[in-house]
Amino acid sequence: MAIDRSYIGRQGKPVTMRVEWGKIREFARAIKDDDPLYFDEQHARTEAGGVWAPVTFLQTLRFWDDGRGSVRPPFDLKRTLHGEQEYEFFKPVLAGDTLTAVSRIVDLYEKPGKRGGTMTFCVTETDFTNQRGEVVARARQVGIETGQVVKD
């Protein structure tokens, strides 16, 4: 893909996401985490004010996005890698919350690949706001389109 810097600053439509206990349990099981904060509602309420979303749970935003919330350049899936992922947490994210997520492309740049070809990097940030209008978390993702099929 020829780099098109006009993508920078592009913002997706706000996506509304409900944080559901069943989904939290399913997610915790998938990362092999048996922390009772995710599985035992009574314990979670007593210990921590409710059932918390696991650290990387906000990835499940994609279930709530009909496609208009995400902003990505048209990368080829066969050559796309997830380079980096970061989360900052400002407030609790608990089962029962309703979050609104807004994503935007904050950077798009190219670098020569180590094994030839050009790699294109896309940096996306997503802000999550809860039902009380509090910004609870920010996710930052770096996606990479490699110049050729990925080899380790």
Binding site: D33, D35, Q59, T60, L77, H82, G83, Q85
Partner: protein, 144 residues
């Protein structure tokens, strides 16, 4: 650690986080994470697609390994205390691979009115190849 409070004063720079291990990842683990996360990129579950993409077989989503790494942090400070978590994906995890996660506290400081710690994270496979390098920030309760 649920039910256990770790105070800021009791943590030292250089302290190791308890190791977290997920042994012998299976294709079923990838499918379970696909369902849980919504990441249905076929490169992680569809052998035909994976081969057509030049790969010997399917490989784990980076975020599956990242989720396993996050347990090293939550096991040490408790989920509510996590303020930041960052991972960089270096090598892919394949079916049969172990994901072995370690972390170290590198800094104690005060920020945003909280007593905080930050540190490094790494996940390696059974051959010692680094799958993920990362870091974390946490706020801990104080005795004072």
């Amino acid at each position: 650690m649920p039910g256990v409070t770790r105070f800021w004063e009791d943590v030292k720079e250089g302290d190791a986080l308890p190791e977290v291990r997920a042994e012998k990842l299976t294709r079923t683990d990838f499918v379970r994470y696909a369902g849980a996360s919504g990441d249905f990129n076929p490169i992680h579950h569809d052998q035909t697609f994976a081969e057509a993409s030049g790969n010997p077989t399917v490989f784990a989503m980076g975020m599956l390994s990242a989720g396993i790494v996050s347990r090293a942090v939550t096991g040490f400070v408790g989920r509510p205390n996590v303020r930041g978590f960052k991972v960089r994906f270096l090598t892919r995890a394949w079916p049969g691979d172990d994901v072995i996660c370690r972390g170290t506290v590198t800094r104690k400081y005060e920020e945003a009115g909280e007593k905080r710690i930050s540190g490094d994270l790494a996940a390696v496979n059974q051959k010692g190849e680094v799958l993920i390098a990362g870091g974390f920030v946490a706020a801990l309760p104080s005795r004072s």
